[in-house]
């Protein structure tokens, strides 16, 4: 025999207890939200995603076949023998070590895990998973400028990544 359950009226004490718990939860969430917001908003960080254009020199400073380290942007400006420029990030795509250009063998060799990249940043030897990042290059009146605020991720080298000065002239 089923008994019809009459809903029990909430006692004053029960109501107040729930009210306190509810308010406590609200207060906790408020503190959590303000903490997270203040942490995210206030941290000093390097400018990323925004344009940051640097002038690196005259076109004639970078003869074909040259690889020049640009300290300000932590990148290499490569002028291929076949023509065309690439601004290649110094940061290994494997675990972020700084990669030196080895002039004798004409390739980038990572000191950490021995990844090797050619002058276009293409992976010649793993463990690096993809080619070195690029930065956009533009040419203004024989001046080479690079936007170091925008890095471009790529899986490998393609000829359309090359920047040519004559395109603008």
């Amino acid at each position: 025999m089923a008994m019809v359950k009459t809903p029990q009226p909430t006692s004053r004490r029960g109501f107040l207890t729930r009210l306190w718990i509810g308010l406590g939860v609200v207060a906790f969430l408020q503190i959590l939200a303000t903490t997270v917001l203040s942490l995210l908003s206030g941290r000093k960080r390097s400018q990323t995603g925004q344009d940051q254009i640097i002038e690196v020199g005259k076109l004639s400073d970078f003869p074909p076949g040259s690889v020049t380290f640009i300290a300000l942007g932590h990148l290499y400006l490569c002028h291929l023998d076949t023509g065309g420029f690439l601004a290649i990030s110094r940061k290994c795509t494997h675990l972020g070590c700084a990669i030196p250009w080895v002039t004798e063998r004409k390739q980038f060799e990572c000191p950490c895990h021995a990844s090797v990249f050619d002058i276009t940043g293409k992976v010649l030897k793993s463990p690096a998973p993809r080619a070195l990042d690029l930065y956009p290059i533009s040419f203004k009146r024989n001046q080479v400028t690079i936007n170091i605020g925008k890095s471009i991720k790529r899986s490998t080298f393609k000829t359309e990544q090359l920047a040519h000065p004559q395109e603008l002239s």
Binding site: R43, L95, G96, C97, A98, P111, H113
Partner: protein, 349 residues
Amino acid sequence: MTSHFLLHFRPKRIPKDALRFTLTWGLGGMAALMIVQQLFSGVLLGFFYEPHPVQAYESVQHIQSKVFLGQLLRNLHHWTGHALVIVVFLHMLRVFVSAAFYPPRHWNWLVGLGLGLLVLIANFSGYLLPWDQLSYWAVTIAISMLGYIPVLGMGLQNIIRGGEELGAATLQLFYTIHTTLIPLALALLMVYHFWFVRRAGGVLLSPAKKENTVETTKREYVSFAPELLVREIAFAAMVSCALLLFSMLVNAPLGNIANPALTPAAVKAPWYFLGAQELLLHVPAVFAVFVVPLVLVLFLGLIPFVGQKNGEPSPLVKFLFYGTLALLVGLTITGIWFRGPGMQLVWPW
């Protein structure tokens, strides 16, 4: 007041068997002692350390050369930090071997896992603070490993680094975590950890042997003070002496000041992450830095609740545990001693 405080941790009378050293090898106590010691030496170092890229390195040099016993203080903090990781690992191993993680101690096993992770984070966040080449690049590599976590990896990496590369923001974050968040969390969790041990009736005593059940059903009890207390103080003194002696003989490394433009040859992640770094060379990255660590933590978190056979882990659980352990230790040892410049396999001699 002292006695009141002590009696919260320890009962007045304890089973005589609990005095046996081989029961725990003193590992839990050793870890607790070392954490307290780290708090003290850390506070002292904190009076001189400046958490800003260039000043950081100079202040560490200042500690080593100008502060009275500063070099020793830094050595002690450095070596105890590394030793702590090993002691906590052995402590966990001992608890697994004696199957002490089953109810009523299952929650304490989880608290212990949390403490273990905190010790790792403490060591890792402290790693960056000297701001020399070794710390800068080791931390760069370790944070870069996070980038292989699917979806969240890149974002996480940028939050931790506070930008594209390690810099002032990273150092400030690591400093705050290392000196505020971790000590606070450690202290709170340690209180729970001790309290759970006390509530479960002290350390786990080996069950009565079958052949002489009649005799061992009644345990012999002795007073906590002085029987256990004296032994613990003596043991603590020996551990402190050993750490101090080692710190007097071997200086903590300090290389050249961090140079973001130059990665030194043969740079590696901190040694306790070298297992993961080694794994990274053999399996797809997402396994090495995400799937394997996650499965490992989940497995350790779940073992008190599954696969129990008469108060012992089932053969499968034992096989998985010891198998993973052997693999982890093997990979870590390979990573530490058998990898030379460019991660080529080399002989350590």
